[in-house]
């Protein structure tokens, strides 16, 4: 297996003037291609900071970061933007879709910023990504015409459309009820089986149990990093839920 992502001794210090906050105090982590990693930690554990660094939104204060073999730590703003565009798919807690913009246009958006012209036919690819998350019949709906689960699926389709090396999901189920949460997790598991590398940040143990590996952060350090022996199957759990009206 090849390493998709490798960070070594990464620290992050925020200078708030009077005080300095050590958000990360030396984190080493590698994620291989095809893994489904859950990053857990309470508020203030540094998981958001780690997520921002992994997502090339922020740079570490020290330490190395290799993303798909590319050293990230010393790149400028434009190269970071290009890396985000080519290598990373984001799924956010609040969906973060553009309002008053159709699902299709939302999914197409990353391809419009693709300078490498790696992916031709943005429209076809966007349709394919939406079909892949089961929204092939909602192409021209606006976010406010979609349920929370559907909006998150649009966001997942947007994360997939640029064929990223890794998808980073930051509390992707934080705003969803349990049934919809299971639906989203089942989709993640399915995509992971199809070969997608996934890092999911959460503070809920319930959610983390669906990943194949668990990394727990505390006070800016990795406290636990272990494989989950028997991950739960979200599709099966969803089927086991008492039947009610679909949301």
């Amino acid at each position: 297996m090849t390493e998709t992502l490798l960070i070594r001794d990464v620290t992050k210090v925020f200078d708030l003037g009077d005080i300095q906050v050590n958000a990360l105090r030396g984190v080493t982590l590698s994620v291989d291609q095809g893994e489904f990693v859950a990053v857990m930690g309470s508020s203030g554990s540094g998981k958001s900071t780690l997520m921002n660094i992994l997502g090339c939104l922020d740079l570490p204060s020290s330490g190395d970061y290799l993303l798909d073999g590319i050293p990230v730590a010393s790149l400028g703003r434009n190269r970071l933007a290009d890396l985000r565009n080519e290598k990373i798919g984001f799924v956010f807690q609040g969906f973060n879709l553009l309002p008053r913009t159709t699902a299709l246009e939302n999914v197409e958006l990353p391809l419009l910023y693709d300078r490498s012209q790696r992916i031709r036919k943005p429209r076809e690819n966007a349709v394919a990504a939406l079909t892949r998350v089961g929204l092939g019949d909602r192409l021209h709906h606006h976010p406010n015409q979609l349920s929370g689960g559907q909006q998150q699926r649009v966001a997942i389709a947007r994360a997939l459309v640029n064929q990223p090396a890794i998808v980073l999901a930051d509390e992707p189920t934080g705003n969803l009820d349990s049934r919809t949460t299971l639906g989203v997790l089942a989709l993640f598991q399915q995509l992971n089986r199809e070969g997608l590398t996934l890092v999911l940040v959460t503070h809920e143990t319930e959610v983390a149990r669906y990943a194949s590996r668990l990394v727990e952060l505390r006070d800016g350090r990795v406290r636990r990093d272990e494989a989950i022996a028997a991950p739960r199957d979200a599709a099966a759990d969803l089927a086991a839920l008492p039947v009610e009206e679909a949301s």
Partner: protein
């Protein structure tokens, strides 16, 4: 991101807040509209003035007798009866720069036709006079060289005179009496309207110069000699040429004063140009101020827009937009906003000019150059005043922008 996409996003954003966009554009609309209206009216009235100047005659040069002075009493222009028919002959023979020369004799007299009478100017000239003074024959004919030599009693009536003496009739072939001498009306002049000085140029009777000079006048002094230069460029050379010929004909010693005055239309043209120049300066100031105000309005609303759409900017940055892409997006939006205002302003300005021109009786002149300048200028204003908000958007930290509520 491609330009077409940027434009689409910009138009969408403008259309989303129609009222706000319209109010933002209002400054630009009013500024551009006012400038277009005023420039069009200014150019229209300048053309009208030019038309009036041209109606005096094409490349016209007027030679007047000099002023007399006896014992400290200074007579007015023309008080010295120094111009004679021999001068006309000399000018015709010895100048190379003049296309046509004609004497001008003028007599003010009562004119009678049947039961009607009218007091008007009887102007005597050579057949060339009509061309030099830009008179045209509306009906009938002009007089001939033969009639000039024969001092024939033929006359051409101006429109005003024709209406006064022959209301509702065709005067051609009729007879009129000037100072008891019977004249035959051979033609009627086309209307020239008012001169730039407000004189009615149609209140006039034209007759051969010899007829007026010997039968109605004192038989000696000319009121003026009129001539036309071959072209406007040759006017100065023609004036020098005519001046030299006249000095020689009048045997003036070198260094002595001219006993005649040479005038052309450059003075009138200069005055018109000066007025237009002042107007243009004034309009530029108005345009500058209104576009400044409009531009500040655009900057203000773009800043609001950037704040409102902080999250959107965060999303775009997170999924791989470079800061430059965000900059371009907001610049295009500001420029589009400004250009829309400019286009509406141009349309409104043309409508305003048409309306104002109709009300004020000024002809409508729309200069394509001013429209192109207006479009370029409003685009530039949008980009200039949109730059600060756009840069603010582009420099947002994606992490903070995504978390912005």
């Amino acid at each position: 991101m491609k330009w077409r996409m940027l434009l689409k996003v910009a138009l969408k954003s403008i259309a989303r807040n129609k009222m706000r966009s319209l109010l933002t554009m209002l400054g630009i609309i009013i500024g551009v509209g006012a400038v277009i209206t005023l420039v069009a009216l200014g150019q229209g009235s300048q053309r009208d003035i030019e038309g009036q100047v041209a109606s005096l005659g094409t490349n016209l040069m007027i030679i007047m007798p000099g002023s007399s002075h006896f014992g400290g009493v200074q007579g007015g222009t023309g008080s010295l009866g120094t111009l004679q028919l021999s001068d006309v002959t000399a000018l015709r023979r010895n100048t190379t720069q003049l296309a046509a020369v004609s004497p001008e004799v003028r007599v003010q007299s009562q004119v009678v036709a049947g039961a009607n009478n009218w007091n008007t100017s009887i102007i005597g000239g050579d057949p060339d006079y009509l061309a030099i003074r830009n008179y045209q024959v509306a009906s009938g004919r002009s007089f001939s060289e033969r009639e000039l030599t024969a001092r024939a009693k033929v006359a051409l009536l101006g429109q005003t005179v024709a209406e006064q003496l022959f209301p509702g009739e065709d005067p051609v072939g009729a007879r009129i009496r000037i100072r008891n001498a019977p004249f035959q009306v051979v033609g009627v002049l086309a209307s020239k309207g008012q001169s730039a000085m407000g004189n009615d140029q149609d209140d006039v009777i034209l007759a051969p110069s010899t007829t007026v000079l010997y039968r109605l006048g004192d038989g000696k002094t000319l009121r003026a000699i009129v001539a036309s230069a071959a072209s406007a460029e040759q006017m100065e050379a023609a004036k020098a040429d005519a001046s030299a010929v006249l000095r020689e004909a009048h045997r003036l010693a070198a260094g002595s004063e001219d006993d005649f005055h040479l005038r052309d239309q450059t003075e009138i043209n200069q005055m018109a140009t000066r007025v237009t120049g002042t107007l243009t300066l004034l309009l530029s100031a108005i345009a500058g101020v209104s576009l400044l105000v409009g531009g500040i309005g655009i900057m203000n609303i773009m800043l609001v827009s950037v704040t409102e759409r902080t999250r959107e900017i965060g999303i775009r940055l997170a999924i791989g937009a470079r800061p430059r892409d965000v900059l371009a997006q907001f610049l295009v939006e500001a420029a589009t906003l400004s250009l829309c205002g400019g286009v509406i302003g141009i349309a409104g300005g043309i409508a305003g000019a048409a309306l104002g021109g109709q009300l004020l009786g000024i002809s409508l002149v729309i200069d394509p150059a001013i429209i192109i300048v207006a479009v370029l200028f409003t685009g530039a204003v949008g980009i200039f005043f949109g730059f600060y908000p756009a840069r603010k958007a582009a420099n947002l930290n994606p992490i903070d922008a995504l978390r912005y509520e």
